[in-house]
Symmetry: C2
């Protein structure tokens, strides 16, 4: 991959000076068109070898364009808030919203490559990282992001010359550190590992552009023109495209009408006295677990889905009843805010991920996309179909960063829902809990049940299984939920 970037590309000064004024005007033009259009973000990754002019290029892009609509992020060591979340959290934080250009200096490639060069990970780890990156970038592209990945390359000889030149000039000496020379010592290994990584991650949706870093004028023009052409092409395509008509996708039910939900035994119940003693037992156990000496190494995420009036809220109160309010947070998931709408779908769940030692309870979740959004046609069929694998990736990352994830589908019968709706209408402080929308959703009961069964089939994985909760009897449901959470935390503590 890198041979083409060692041929000694060069641009004459006169050619450069003639080209720049037009390029700048054109870049400003597409930048403002992007802002007006507001429908997608541009994500520019700047990576490559040291001394190949990455910093200068980023500075120049900011100079050529309007820096007010560019967000430049340089990733240094993670902060403590970042270290307590899955590694990708800091990149989710830095994603530019639609209509903006985000320049990421250092990226999700840095750690996998460096770790492998210095052999702190195995080649298997690198393969896994590459696969994760491909999934992540595919998701970004599917969400509409324009992704440009620049790799700045220098031959061994050119890098040595460049570092020496920088080190001998008093003005730039500070820029060459011992770390740079340590990197230079492993040039060949770095070459091989990055080539493998680039080869495996150069996809149609997010291709690598390798730039020879030796001649400043060549690299500036290459990056500037590539960025210009890619943005122009996308903007033109957008202008000619009509928004896809969103429509409710047909849902196909199994021919014999049997699914995981309608096979549940909803008559399961507990007596009042049994419930009371079990509640004490399991809330006490949960409380003790949350005070375990090793608990601060874990995060806990509890996710609830289920039909309206299934008892999600009251079950959540039985969980929080066993916890100290200082260490949990309940996130009721409603419509996204406008800042959330300007980001990929999962962004609004990433932003609330708990720090270590904390419990976050989601009342409705990232599964909204394959339930309400699918059924009401709020997103296209492609969007919700790809959600299954995006969600699996997300949950895998949670699991791997020591997050105990418990997912509950709380199931009631259609008759039981009717009974509860009527009760809510009668009771004073429950009247806020029943709206016109609830009655409208009820009419689509069968569709929701089918979508839920479909969802469970696709996303009940080994590492993040769904727990189906028989909830016609609230007492039975609450104990089952509490017990499941306790057992999952216990297992995670044992495995630490």
């Amino acid at each position: 991959m890198f041979e083409a970037a060692e041929v000694g590309h060069k641009i004459e000064k006169s050619v450069f000076n003639r080209a720049v004024p037009k390029l700048r005007a054109d870049l400003l033009d597409v930048q403002y068109r992007l802002k007006e259009n507001g429908k997608f973000p541009v994500i520019v990754l700047i990576s490559g070898v040291r001394g190949a002019g990455k910093g200068e290029t980023v500075n120049l892009l900011n100079e050529w364009m309007d820096p007010r609509h560019i967000v430049t992020y340089a990733f240094d060591n993670p902060s403590d808030e970042e270290r307590e979340r899955p590694p990708m959290w800091r990149y989710w934080r830095a994603l530019p919203p639609k209509g903006k250009i985000g320049i990421l200096f250092g990226s999700w490639y840095t750690a996998p490559i460096i770790d492998r060069v210095f052999k702190t990970t195995t080649s298997g780890n690198l393969v896994r990282s590459i696969e994760e990156i491909n999934h992540f970038e595919k998701m970004l592209a599917d969400e509409g992001a324009l992704i440009l990945k620049f790799w700045f390359h220098l031959s061994r000889q050119a890098q040595k010359k460049r570092l020496k030149a920088l080190a001998s000039d008093p003005e730039t000496r500070w820029r060459v550190t011992e770390r740079d020379w340590n990197f230079f010592k492993v040039y060949d290994r770095f070459y091989r590992v990055s080539e493998e990584t680039l080869r495996e991650t150069s996809t149609a949706a997010a291709p690598w552009i390798v730039v020879e870093g030796q001649d400043p004028r060549y690299r500036y023009l290459t990056v500037g023109k590539t960025l210009l052409e890619a943005m122009r092409k996308r903007l033109d395509a957008q202008a000619n495209r009509r928004d896809p008509v969103s429509q409710a996708a047909p849902i196909i039910r199994p021919i014999d009408k049997r699914d995981v939900l309608n096979q549940l035994d909803l008559s399961k119940s507990l007596t009042e006295s049994k419930y009371k003693s079990e509640l004490l037992t399991w809330q006490g156990r949960l409380n003790r677990l949350s005070r375990d000496a090793k608990f601060p190494q874990l995060s806990v995420a509890v996710a609830f889905e289920g039909m309206d009036a299934a008892g999600k809220g009251s079950t959540i109160r039985r969980i929080t009843g066993g916890l100290d309010a200082r260490y949990y947070n309940v996130i009721p998931v409603a419509s996204p805010t406008d800042e959330e709408r300007a980001q990929p779908y999962l962004w609004r769940f990433w932003r609330h991920l708990p720090r270590k030692g904390r419990v976050t309870i989601y009342d409705r979740t990232w599964y909204g996309r394959v339930l309400v959004e699918r059924i009401e046609g709020f997103c296209s069929e492609t969007d919700w179909m790809r959600a299954y694998s995006e969600i699996n990736d997300f949950e895998e990352q949670l699991e791997r960063s020591n997050t105990v994830l418990c997912k509950f589908w709380v199931q009631i019968s259609k008759d039981e829902q009717l009974r509860r709706f009527k009760e809510r209408e009668r009771m004073r402080f429950k009247r806020f809990k029943i709206t016109e929308e609830d009655w409208r959703n009820r009419k689509k009961w069968d569709l929701y049940q089918a979508a839920a069964a479909d969802m469970i089939e696709h996303t009940s994985t080994d590492i993040a299984p769904w727990t189906l909760v028989e909830a016609n009897d609230k007492k039975y449901a609450r104990i089952k939920v509490l017990k499941t959470i306790c057992k999952r935390i216990e297992r995670a503590l044992d495995e630490l």
Copy 2:
């Protein structure tokens, strides 16, 4: 203040059990009314002596109400991201949005009281902290927040008894630490310092409610009922109130029409050659300053205001031209997002405050409130009038946390604006820079000038002076801005 909380308040179990069901239903009711209303946040502060049942009370409030619409924050040691900003940043981060209840466990009172008890600060520091807190809470109240501050008190004897009881029960032993006993040793001093603080911060807008912590039933009912009554009263008042009609406030110009702006000599200019050499000099100087060994101890915030087409954008590009893109951030201030609208006015500027070693450039600023919002009637007269002192408080906090703040008013003449508007309409890549709104604003030229003069008069303070920039000649303006920034950073570095 505390005597009334040492009388041995007690509630019988039977009384308590009778009261609770109604109280819970009522609390849920006001909580949902708050959510529906969505016009103000409720901020509940939980403070006081150790062992007085603060934690249990917070847990109970979460149990009695719907935890999905309560946000509980416990402030432990600040994270590194928090330590690199002014001390109040972490509290701004934790403010509940309109329609929600935020329970803050530990608060802006903790550090001032503890520091004074253990004598790490002087009594003068405490007085200053108290004044700052009063300003902050007044701002919150003016922004509509309902603030309830609970102080949990125990007599010396009661605290000793309570700590001993906790320490002797194996179930609760872990809750009593050496730190608790160290605090107990300075009980009398803690008593005096907190009494002084409470006395001086118990205002009409944010009163303290001292709660005797000895009897659990008494403290639960007291907190629950106080919260209920305060919320109910506010909701009822809101329901009866019509929104104030926002209107443009009259602006009174000095009788002789002289002000700081129209006295500027706009003919100041630089020749092209002088400009080029000065630009090199000052950009180079800025660059070297940003690489100073002590620079990572500073933050820099640069604020731009001025009429449309005054040259803010192009001046910003001359600043960023001297900096490394990794370390600056340009914030173009446009209309607030919906998340920002659910918070106090200054929230959206606090959230972007730079970490140490970074430069943030605001293209338009927190002064929008006393310029565009005042003139267009987007806020009430009381709102923009109180903005002056709120802004001064904000800037004082920046200054004290080693943030170099440079505020520029970029001034052009009305004729020069017209010339630039016409030029923008002609030039291809500038066409995005001129809108109908710009022409509309131009019609209000005199009003904007008068509001700006008024603003400068009220907010050009010793620690955060305005620099007025004569900008009919862009070259002159850019050099003046660059020079000012360099000098301010130099002074700050010298003073470190």
